[in-house]
């Protein structure tokens, strides 16, 4: 059997597409379907951020997380892997990105909610939900815990109720 990376459904060998969620399982190089473009149902978040993000930042960075509500870029470290969550006094392992200033508790963000992984080899960026209490979703599609889900430019990544826009400046042109 083969396991669908998106929804964990099991399919027989030889099946090309997951019968549950429709994602492509085999022959990804055939590029007939871009499997992981989730529909963007959060249409309210379709705003023009080019005015509010400094030009220099758009030129320099490979990956930007943007809070539409506050119209500002979320501060993330310049490294290929980092965790996002909510810092609590006395916590042993702390998240690299602390979302307390975005009312993390009310938004249902776990202490260690998710990991962002930037993979230069694969040329892709992934999010992994770390088994958070309220889950994570991409464009409203709930993602399975502990598995890599690719992020595309324009996706809305939600941790609990907190929405962030994924901006990949190199894909903007």
């Amino acid at each position: 059997m083969i396991t669908c990376k998106v929804c964990n459904n099991q399919e027989y060998h030889g099946v090309f597409f997951c019968g549950e969620c429709g994602s492509q399982l085999a022959f990804a190089s055939t590029e007939m379907v871009n499997t992981l473009v989730y529909p963007n149902q959060n249409r309210a978040l379709e705003v023009d951020f080019t005015q509010t993000i400094p030009k220099k930042l758009l030129e320099d960075s490979t990956f930007i997380l943007y809070s539409n509500e506050r119209e500002e870029v979320i501060d993330i470290p310049d490294q290929n892997e980092f965790t996002i969550g909510r810092f609590v006094e006395g916590q042993v392992i702390t998240p690299d990105v602390d979302l307390n200033e975005y009312e993390a508790y009310d938004m249902g963000i776990s202490r260690l909610h998710a990991t962002i992984r930037i993979s230069p080899e694969k040329g892709k960026i992934f999010v992994v939900d770390l088994g958070s209490a309220n889950g994570s979703s991409v464009n409203g599609y709930e993602i399975p815990a502990n598995s890599e889900v690719p992020l595309n430019h324009g996706d809305v990544l939600s941790l609990g109720k907190f929405n962030m826009k994924v901006i990949l400046p190199q894909d903007m042109k």
Partner: protein
């Protein structure tokens, strides 16, 4: 006698080419010429020519005959079959695996030239229940008149209206005069309920006034309503219609009609069912149906497929000439075989582990029966694949079959969303339609993606499909399966 290097030239190889070289040359040439890729005029002909050449050159006996200058169409039937598999080989696995096969059948150009054209015998069965009142009937009247006018000298046509009972407005005849047609259609006014059985039975009787052997026989049913209580009779009638080479196509207008039932009815005869939201499309449907029947090479095609031991048919879907899911059985009534277009079915097989000593496994054997004027032609075939140990040795599948499978996935997703709703699970139907929408979007099917998205939103608030949404999605995803999306 034609130039004997002709077949070699079609494949762009020399006369001394090896078996392997012929095979490679064919793949290359066929891919380039395939009508899906090559949109130039004459691409279909080119593709058929290439296939024809390959059929001969890949068979040692026929190649030898050909090389010696004998007519390549002498012995074989004039009918070609072609298969494309999702994998070049089956894998040696300890567990079951799935393999897909596209099974094509088509006639050679020479065969078409020596065959007689079959005239049509059409029964137009029109719903005149109260709900058809006003514009619907007016438009239907005009469209009917127009297509009758376009029929050939030898074609037969009858017109039947039905509500709770059927009325033959125009007896089965060839070239009725304008006045007759006008008079007949003036009797088409709206009253009563919808009893489909009454209508198709009358159509069936009209068609049977003439020997069905000499015609392409077809009932075209147009309805906007739900039939009550006579479904079983309709199904029984459809079965006997199929046995007598009478096809049934159905067109559903608006939202009331029972799509599952009409689908089943038509599929039994190899006919097509379609949904239109706007009555104005009715003419398009009629013109398309008639044009399609006019292209008939045989009045009927049946296919019987027998899976090998350890193999199950998971699903079968006809892709050409019209896309329809086929009933879950092994003997299919496939409607007509067209002259210039292959008839194509996509099969999905589940194959149990294959014993080590077998190097080439049979997946299924099949038999087409082509019914022409007098004689029936039987074309047997076998689906088989070699065994392969290393999955890395498998190449990506040919674009055609990959595309077909990917489109089948869309159909399946909407089907599963329907099942979700039926089993009281709107949450997962919602999720599934969102997925469907995103996959459709990725394929550039924006309009249908939007329908799926709106339907997802509707389900979120109503826990059920919107009145038109279900049909839109079903027939929309079916239409995607057609290679040229006509």
């Amino acid at each position: 006698m034609q130039d004997k290097t002709d077949f070699y030239r079609r494949l762009n190889i020399g006369t001394g080419a090896s078996e392997d070289a012929i095979k490679k040359a064919f793949r290359l040439a066929a891919r380039k010429a395939h009508p899906d890729v090559n949109k130039n005029d004459g691409a279909t002909q080119l593709f058929l020519d290439i296939q024809e050449a390959y059929k001969v050159l890949s068979d040692p006996t026929r190649k030898e005959n050909y090389d010696q200058g004998r007519d390549p169409h002498d012995s074989p039937s004039g009918i070609l079959t072609a298969f494309e598999y999702s994998q070049q080989a089956l894998l040696r696995l300890e567990e079951p695996q799935v393999i897909y096969a596209l099974v094509d059948i088509l006639s050679t150009q020479d065969e078409i030239q020596i065959s007689d054209d079959l005239p049509l015998n059409i029964a137009l069965v029109l719903d005149n229940s109260t709900s058809m009142k006003g514009a619907r009937l007016d438009i239907l009247r005009a469209a009917t008149k127009e297509i009758i006018n376009d029929l050939g000298e030898e074609d037969l046509v009858s017109v039947i209206s039905f509500n709770d009972r059927a009325k033959v407005l125009l007896d089965s005849q060839s070239k009725p005069s304008d006045i007759q047609v006008e008079a007949a259609l003036n009797e088409l006014y709206a009253e009563g309920g919808t009893e489909i059985f009454q209508g198709i039975e009358a159509g069936y009787e009209e068609i049977r006034k003439h020997p069905t052997l000499n015609y392409v026989n077809h009932i075209i049913l147009i309805t906007d309503g739900h039939t009550y209580g006579d479904e079983d009779n309709c199904i029984a009638l459809a079965k006997s219609a199929a046995d007598q080479d009478i096809g049934i196509s159905g067109l559903g207008i608006g939202i009331e009609w029972n799509d599952e039932f009409i689908d089943q009815l038509c599929a039994l005869t190899g006919g097509q069912s379609l949904f239109i939201h706007d009555i104005k499309q009715v003419k398009e449907f009629l013109v398309h149906s008639i044009a399609s029947l006019k292209e008939a090479f045989s009045r009927r095609l049946t296919l019987e497929i027998t899976p090998a031991p350890g193999v199950t048919i998971l699903s079968s879907f006809r892709i050409l000439p019209e896309a329809i899911p086929l009933p879950n059985q092994q003997l299919f009534s496939l409607g007509i075989l067209k002259k210039h277009q292959p008839h194509r079915v996509l099969f999905e097989f589940l194959v149990n582990p294959i014993p080590d000593k077998i190097d080439q496994a049979v997946i299924a054997s099949g038999e087409y029966v082509i019914k022409k004027k007098i004689r029936d032609q039987v074309i047997p075939f076998i689906l088989e694949r070699k065994l392969e140990t290393d999955p890395d040795n498998l190449e990506a599948p040919a674009p055609e079959i990959f595309k077909a499978i990917s489109h089948l996935t869309f159909y399946r997703l909407q089907e599963k969303a329907q099942q979700d709703i039926a089993s009281g699970n709107p949450g997962s139907a919602y999720q599934r339609l969102l997925n469907l929408s995103s996959h459709l979007m990725a394929k550039g099917e924006d309009a249908l993606a939007k329908v799926a998205m709106n339907e997802a939103d509707y389900i979120k608030s109503h826990n059920n499909f919107s009145p038109t949404g279900k049909k839109h999605l079903k027939y929309g995803t079916i239409r995607l399966l057609l290679p040229d999306k006509t």
